[in-house]
């Protein structure tokens, strides 16, 4: 029964993920606002940015995100904007999002796995024909007969449930209940082909994709095979209290690292239960439903809450706690850094000391920032930015350093806690928040340390440089350890073996998703006029902490009058936005001359053509030139003014030709000569 009407949709961003969703080469940001799913794509525009005093022309070349105009006072920079492709209300509250490279999707791009509260998984794909989401499958695990669910265990809705997907999309795991893991394996393309070759004689034909070996299942229609529930205690009886798990990069089989213990951790019981957490890495054999332990690290501090897997060049995983961060590499070697004075008090795990920073890591968001250097961006719970950089010894991590980002470099741009963070590639990060606005941050680096791109002519810097360059294919670096090893080692040794210098990253806000969440209080302010009881405003108190604000909701758009001019007896008016014609000699094939269109010395004329009716019925045309907010009558231009009425005025040929449609004829004018 619908007994309410939604007047404002959810605006608090709870989860975000980047994946090619609409098309195989697209770069989409999928944002979950608890029960609303929005799909965005990025569009680059040139925007004027006021230059700082010290960022002179000589420095600008090192900032990869800028396109420098010769005049140093005004810089145009590539700014990315989020364009909404579609939004879809969901039946349920999203608790996790994961990207899956599923077979045979309608859009040939990747699919999205959405985990809902109450242990439900939904695999969705984009349907380009209906321009809508299409649910491939729904999996739910509320069955009370499942192993591990006992009458006295906590309800499914009260446990910490989350989803983790294998980076190579071999499977996904939903941790639900007290210690259950639901594994959903996904079919891989090469598995199907191998089965065909060994079982059937005869040439491959078009049917190959449809048959599925000897078991006769109709499973070729689904991109996944049957899922199973694995209580974590089957893997290891001591895993009764799991804290967090995540699938790791760069393994031949799906492998995950899990932080768990046999007793619940508690700060009040530090005397007895100090350092009881263990980090274990398990490899799953999906066929046999068995696992192998690869490594185990004991004695972790009680406050570790998260496992963040790292791709190349660093590898391994980061264990993030409230007082320290520990890196565990593939061999089990650990490096930790203490971020505040409590770390030494609560643990005896060996940590390097940076407690003078006094950073509180509760509620932080962690994301890989730079694929080349392996630097990590951390957003603290008050919005301040932090970078984590590694010291490498060959291919091994020998140390980590935390560095605050100074206010001059954009470290104080955000003022609220981040709920999610997603790397969009090309030096852009989306930081979502449930307490305030979500932002699209772009960053640039002044570091000259990476030798990898120094061979590019005239370019110093380590990130993607130009609009034309294709985005780095991240999948290249996810290759198996046995392939491309030589190329990867070269990349790493050229990468900074030294930690990145502090202050080398600068952040800038490109775009913002406004938010009115959380709404604390509402006041209705009806209009004074009594005969319109439904108009008026709703005043809300929104936001949390430094993002607190008062917001007004209106039913109508309220226009702000910028300027007003009287044009007596005007019958019709048209705005002409004409461009000077390209100089002769330049290829004038109209079409995709995007570079010329974008060039900042393209000259624009702005005219307003008005057709007026005189008192005697005769019509004439007047042309005004628009200067900011002023209108000035001009005799420029050969527009036919006297004889006939103008029906319409438009531009053709990418703005270089102005066409005046009169009652009996069509006239064209070159915009340059007028």
């Amino acid at each position: 029964m619908q007994c309410y009407t939604e007047i404002a949709p959810p605006t608090a961003v709870s989860h975000a993920i980047t994946l090619p969703f609409i098309a195989p080469k697209s770069n989409n940001l999928v944002v979950a606002k608890n029960s609303l799913l929005q799909i965005f794509e990025l569009k680059s525009t040139l925007a004027q940015v006021p230059a700082d005093g010290d960022a002179g022309v000589e420095n600008a070349g090192a900032l990869p995100d800028t396109e420098v105009v010769d005049v140093p006072l005004q810089r145009t920079e590539n700014t990315a904007k989020l364009i909404l492709v579609g939004e879809f209300p969901l039946a349920g509250t999203v608790i996790s999002l994961a990207r899956i490279k599923a077979l045979h999707t309608k859009s040939k791009a990747e699919a999205l796995l959405v985990a809902f509260r109450d242990a439900k998984l939904s695999l969705v794909e984009w349907d380009p024909e209906t321009y809508n989401l299409h649910t491939v499958s729904i999996h739910y695990y509320e069955n009370p007969d499942l192993p591990g669910i006992t009458p006295w265990s906590t309800d499914l809705k009260d446990t910490y449930n989350f989803l983790s997907a294998d980076p190579s999309s071999r499977c996904a795991a939903l941790k639900f209940g007290v210690h259950n893991l639901a594994i959903l394996p996904f079919r891989q393309r090469d598995l199907v082909e191998d089965e065909y070759d060994s079982d059937l004689d005869g040439p491959r034909d078009a049917k190959m994709g449809n048959t599925d070996g000897e078991d006769g299942e109709q499973a070729h229609k689904t991109p996944y095979s049957s899922s199973f529930v694995l209580p974590l205690t089957h893997l290891d009886p001591t895993l009764t209290h799991p804290v967090h798990l995540a699938f790791l990069h760069e393994y031949r089989e799906p492998t995950f690292g899990i932080v768990a213990s046999s007793k619940a951790t508690a700060p009040s019981l530090l005397v007895e239960r100090k350092d009881i957490l263990t980090y274990t890495v398990f490899t799953l054999d999906l066929e046999q439903k068995a696992s192998t332990t690869l490594l185990s690290v004991q004695g972790l501090p009680y406050d570790i809450t998260r496992v963040v897997p790292l791709p190349l060049p660093i590898g391994g995983a980061l264990l993030v706690g409230s007082n320290e961060i520990i890196h565990v590499d593939q061999a089990g070697k650990t490096n930790g850094v203490a971020a505040n004075e409590f770390a030494k008090a609560c643990t005896s795990f060996p940590l390097s000391d940076q407690s003078d920073l006094g950073i509180h890591l509760e509620g932080c968001a962690v994301e890989l920032m730079s694929q080349d250097t392996g630097d990590i961006l951390i957003v603290l719970n008050d919005g301040k930015l932090l970078t984590l950089t590694f010291t490498l010894d060959g291919r091994n991590v020998s140390g980590m350093t935390l560095q605050r980002v100074a206010a001059d470099n954009g470290g104080h741009l955000l003022n609220v806690q981040a709920s999610c963070i997603s790397n969009l590639g090309r030096s852009r990060l989306f930081i979502g928040s449930e307490d305030g606005e979500s932002v699209l941050l772009g960053w640039s680096s002044k570091s000259n340390q990476l030798g990898r791109k120094q061979s590019k002519a005239g370019v110093i810097g380590d990130e993607d440089m130009s609009l034309d360059e294709e985005e780095e294919d991240v999948d290249d670096l996810d290759d198996d350890l046995y392939n491309d090893t030589a190329a990867t080692v070269k990349k790493i040794s050229a990468a900074a073996a030294e930690p990145t210098a502090p202050g080398s990253y600068t952040f800038r806000v490109h775009d913002v998703l406004p938010s009115i969440a959380p709404i604390r209080d509402v006041v209705l302010h009806p209009d004074a006029a009594a005969q319109y009881p439904t108009t008026g405003e709703i005043m809300l108190s929104t936001g949390r902490g430094a993002a607190g604000a008062i917001t007004t909701l209106n039913r109508e758009v309220h226009l702000t009058n910028l300027a007003q001019t009287d044009l007596a007896s005007a019958r019709g008016l048209w705005a002409v936005h004409a461009r000077k014609q390209a100089p002769t000699g330049v290829t004038a094939d109209f079409g995709q001359d995007a570079e010329a269109n974008m060039s900042s010395d393209a000259d624009y004329d702005q005219y307003l053509v008005v057709c007026k009716v005189g008192t005697d019925g005769s019509e004439n045309t007047v042309v005004y030139e628009v200067n900011g907010k002023e209108l000035e009558e001009t005799t420029k231009g050969d527009f036919e003014r006297e004889e006939g009425s103008t029906l319409s005025v438009g531009v053709l040929a990418l703005g270089t030709k102005v066409v005046q449609i009169m009652r009996g004829e069509v006239r064209t004018y070159d915009s340059g000569k007028s």
């Binding site: 014609q581 319409s648 270089t656 009996g664």
Partner: protein
């Protein structure tokens, strides 16, 4: 001023008045008061030229407009016939194909205009 394109009926030579015009760079569609439609294209040399649209020129139309969007590569023409039918066509097709055939985009079939 560059060009003056007079509106004339091809057979009788009588002057026609323009009812409506629609712009979709580089095309221009003009609807005249005898219900005929003419399509012009701005060519690379800067001239605006009449395009032979034999599919359209022999039929009467009540209303016509062009549509262009960043989502599609093609420019479309939407035409309303006096019988009340809505015809939609790729503009490039209309200017190239032979007479009397207009592709109905909705049901993906060819539809003969004269029937």
């Amino acid at each position: 001023m560059d060009q003056i394109i007079p509106m004339e009926d091809e057979e009788s030579g009588a002057e026609l008045r323009i009812i409506n015009a629609s712009f979709a760079d580089p095309y221009l569609l003009v609807l005249r008061d005898d219900s005929s439609v003419k399509i012009f294209k701005a060519s690379g040399s800067g001239e605006v030229e009449d395009v032979e649209a034999s599919g359209l020129s022999s039929t009467k139309w009540l209303s016509a407009s062009l549509f262009k969007s960043s989502t599609f590569e093609e420019t479309f023409a939407f035409l309303l016939s006096p019988e009340g039918g809505l015809h939609v066509g790729h503009l490039r097709w209309l200017c190239q194909i032979n007479a009397h055939n207009l592709r109905c985009l909705h049901c993906q079939t060819w539809r003969d205009l004269t029937t």
